[in-house]
């Protein structure tokens, strides 16, 4: 019995297979439902950089599974990230995409160098506008933030201010806040910390990892005791 090999590729996070080991850019678009193919820009994600795949460009599926992103567009935007050439198919790119594809660590800020001088730190969760003339070079650098972050813990309703370093675990600040506010009657595991909207925070993570900024308000409350 002959078993036909299947070759895999991924577009926009979805895996597709092909019995042909070699396709072209047009076929990748069509097989992933992007028709008419000419209406889409196809970007291949490499290790820390991206390239564009033209309609007639050959695509070799015999090596590592290629990863693509598609954009309904006829324009491409070129720039560099950490001195590597990137091409993107939309006028905006999410900060998280630059961080993920560029393998930029959480303790580094992403910075845009603007033509004519100056630079802009891209906020976490933000976007970079590639459509202007200014954006050409994107790079990262160690977070230049305040040496200390001041946080207000509202413990059982009572506000208590504490300070910590960006790389401190949240639990360390919680311990200090509980001690300062004399809430020492319960083990630390009995407390739950939420941000202002009410999302439960993992206290083993650092302030940096949690995106806790200067002046943040965190609410600490006791988990419900046994009931019934």
């Amino acid at each position: 019995m002959t078993v036909k090999l299947k070759y895999a590729f991924q577009v926009d996070g979805i895996d597709y297979t092909s019995e042909d080991s070699e396709l072209d850019g047009r076929q990748v678009r069509s097989k992933s439902g992007h028709d008419p193919a000419a209406n889409y820009v196809l970007i291949e994600i490499h290790d820390r950089y991206t390239t564009s795949v033209g309609l007639e460009d050959p695509v070799d599926l015999t090596k590592e599974k290629p990863i693509y992103r598609s954009f309904e567009s006829d324009r491409e935007y070129t720039f560099t990230v950490e001195n590597l050439g990137w091409i993107w198919g939309a006028a905006k790119i999410a900060e998280i995409d630059v961080r993920t594809i560029g393998k930029i660590a959480a303790d580094r800020d992403i910075v845009i160098e603007v033509v004519g001088g100056g630079e802009i730190v891209v906020p976490r969760g933000g976007e970079i506008d590639l459509s202007g003339k200014g954006v050409e070079r994107i790079y990262s650098r160690k977070v230049v933030g305040p040496a200390k972050i001041h946080v207000t813990f509202v413990i059982n309703g009572e506000p208590t201010k504490v300070e910590g370093k960006p790389n401190d675990q949240l639990v360390k600040l919680l311990e200090k806040a509980l001690k300062d506010s004399e809430n020492t009657g319960q083990p630390i595991g009995s407390w739950q910390v939420t941000d202002e909207p009410g999302n439960v925070l993992d206290v083993t993570k650092t302030l940096l990892e949690l995106g806790i900024h200067e002046g943040a308000i965190l609410l600490a409350s006791l988990k419900a005791g046994a009931a019934g």
Partner: protein, 199 residues
Amino acid sequence: MQTADPAVSRLKFEREVGYLREIEQTLVSRGIWIMSAEFPVVKVAFATVNLRPRFVPFAVKVDFTDYDALPLAITFVDPFDDHELLPSEMMTRLPRVMQPGPAVPTEGGGGMVLIQQVVELYQSYPQHPGAPGFLCLPGTRAYHAHPAHSGDPWELHRAGGEGKLFALLDIVWRYGVASVDHIQVTALNFGLGHSQVAA
């Protein structure tokens, strides 16, 4: 009748309500509204911010009479006309998903299964449908006054913070409205659906 020194209860009322006032914007963004606060009662309404359209399914009245010689007394009321809600009028039972216990063998003995228990923090007496329900939680007057909890006196909890105004409101919010994200409609009933909130 107040039996503890009213000045003490009033001081604690003003302090604990004052703390809430300091974070009022945060509380409002969570759907917790202080409707009135005049000693000895603070009335707080709860809204479902994660559900559109938004509902205000209930309010609680927290009575500081004799606090903290006695724990706070909490009643669930209609936010608009103040009448105490009957179990049939409560759109949620404040469900709380408990941590599963150790795995137990299945009936046929073929495997192990984890049993997850859901505890309703709002409890009532099914045999007395005309009697309002109550928040069954350490730190509340209803809990510690209940004969079934005579072995778990208020004095064991008073210093630990469980019975503070914020702590109790936070639990009512977390299990009562924060997790509500859909409406359940049946031929006979209309209720609020919760996503699961772990203990």
